[in-house]
């Protein structure tokens, strides 16, 4: 049997398929250069090729495809935000997620698990009611639940009244879910490359050539590339790249850590978030428990993990699910996240005419990958800012019109 497999593997009849651009030299010129090969970058390339007939595109990635926050996030997909602008935007993204596996002919493992956020105070319940009403009004599935309903959704949750923070209710977002993060990046990249887009990994942008307020070329570690326009989608290093274009952003870069246990039988359906102890959890389809929490306490450009964060996540999660005290941790990691003051992204035009921004995705941008790609591609192709992302322009900070999603983000991602 192993021999037969080997023969099959080396047979000329079944050549290896290349899903992404094989390594080749950079062209001298591309119509669009997208800086950053995370989910947002490759999604933008895909929608440009698919809907706007623009295929002379290079996606430049300094490391490997999806090796930034796209490959590090905990894959909470939800739309139960607070502001109308936010809910409408993330709602569209969830809708796109549902169709992606079919669209790519490649399984991104989208699962409609539902997401439950827990409350321990009346103030939290009031804000949940507010969110549930805004959500329902805009067609997003969210409702308030009491402890009896929570018990039915998550039988293993510690609902004791004698705990340190007894749970009094929750926000049940039955439209929420999860997907395999790597597969989302691979699916978009594969579908973009099939349409002629070039993905160049190990290609770092080190400078931007701007004359008369227009970007003409990008400098890379593999030479200079001219471009008709450029999009930046580099998450944690957004400020540094924008700085090369002389643009200042309202962003601070903070590490965000997560960890995963050994696998268990399937016991936890919904994704559960407990903002009062800064922890959230989900069980992957492999059975592991992925546990995450709030950002690090101070800005840093480093993906180191800390014992303090492990201790705080572990103690918090054991209060909710005491049996997890017996689990062993398998892995830990961190990403660097581009945090904005209002927990909403910065998307759209920049002070440089043909240079577009997709930044400020902080701890919540994986869920937005499809809609970012779709709206950014429309912006690049037409030069007009789509209505859906108008509220997220950089200029909102100069008009003092922030889109406050701090309360609806916190430990829910």
């Amino acid at each position: 049997m192993p021999f037969a497999l080997l023969k099959y593997g080396f047979s000329k009849k079944y050549p290896a398929r290349h899903s992404f651009t094989p390594r080749k030299d950079l062209n001298q010129h591309y119509d669009v250069v997208i800086i950053g090969g995370g989910g947002h970058g490759v999604a933008t390339a895909y929608y440009l090729a698919r809907y706007h007939g623009i295929t002379n595109i290079a996606v430049l990635e300094k490391g490997y495809l999806g090796g930034g926050n796209t490959g590090r996030n905990t894959a909470v997909l939800r739309a139960n935000y607070l502001t109308e602008e936010g809910v409408k935007f993330y709602r569209e993204s969830l809708q796109l997620y549902r169709g992606l596996s079919n669209e790519f002919d490649f399984n991104i493992m989208w699962e409609n698990r539902g997401q439950l956020t827990l409350a321990t105070t009346d103030a939290a319940m009031r804000s949940f009611r507010w969110r549930a009403e805004v959500n329902k009004h805009l067609g997003v599935g969210s409702e308030l639940v009491d402890c009896q309903q929570i018990k039915e959704l998550v039988p293993l949750l510690n609902l004791s009244e004698n705990g340190r923070y007894p749970i009094i209710g929750g926000l049940w977002h039955y439209d929420g879910g999860t997907a395999r993060h790597d597969a989302v990046a691979w699916g978009y990249a594969k579908a973009a490359c099939e349409r002629g887009v070039e993905l160049h990994q190990l290609t770092e942008v080190t400078g931007l050539k701007i004359t008369n307020n227009r970007i003409k070329a990008v400098q890379t570690n593999r030479g200079i590339v001219e471009c008709g326009c450029a999009v930046q989608a580099v998450a944690g290093t957004s400020s540094l790249l924008a700085g090369m274009a002389g643009i200042k952003l309202p962003i601070h870069t903070y590490p965000l850590q997560a960890m995963v246990t050994q696998p268990y039988k399937p016991v936890l359906g919904p994704l559960v978030s407990a903002p009062h102890v800064h922890v959230y959890i989900q069980q992957t389809s492999r059975g592991e428990f992925v546990i995450g929490g709030g950002s690090d306490p101070y800005p840093l450009y480093s993906t180191r993990s800390t014992l303090e964060m492990k201790e705080s996540l572990s103690s918090a999660i054991q209060e909710l699910f005491p049996f997890i005290g017996n689990a062993r941790l398998l892995r830990q990691w961190a990403g660097i996240t581009d945090m904005t003051p209002d927990y909403s992204p910065i998307m759209g035009l920049s002070p440089v005419d043909n240079y577009y921004l997709d930044a400020g995705w902080g701890t919540w941008g994986f869920k937005a990958t499809p809609i970012c790609g779709k709206t950014m591609s429309e912006l690049v192709a037409t030069g007009k800012v789509p209505d859906l992302i108008k509220p997220f322009g950089l200029d909102r900070f100069y008009r003092f019109e922030q889109v406050n999603e701090a309360g609806a983000t916190a430990a829910s991602h």
Binding site: S239, L240, K248, P250, H252, P299, F397, F400
Partner: protein, 96 residues
């Protein structure tokens, strides 16, 4: 455990401290433009490297200044604000 040398309390666990943002000169809130004010309160160079920041020792409510490397996670030095600020700043002056 990471240690910060507090100018008032000596070496303490970093968990006793709170980060308070970069040290920046405040434009005059009465005479500056809206853009200048937005720039001051929102925008940041967010450098990868050396930064000068406000930190608070929470238990003693003591604010001081720390210089830190945001790539290596090293605290390079800490000192009392009086080393930078020689005069008292009247925040509420001229505002009714």
């Amino acid at each position: 455990m990471k240690i910060i040398h507090c100018p008032l309390n000596g070496p303490r666990n970093i968990s006793e401290f709170a980060y308070g943002g970069e040290v920046e000169a405040m434009p005059d809130p009465v005479s500056c433009s809206g853009d200048e004010w937005a720039e001051y309160i929102f925008m940041s160079d967010n450098p990868a490297g050396l930064v000068r920041e406000w930190w608070l020792h929470v238990a003693t409510a003591y604010w001081f200044i720390a210089e830190r490397n945001t790539v290596t996670d090293e605290i390079i030095k800490t000192y009392p604000p009086s080393e930078l600020y020689k005069q008292r700043i009247e925040f509420a002056k001229d505002i009714d």
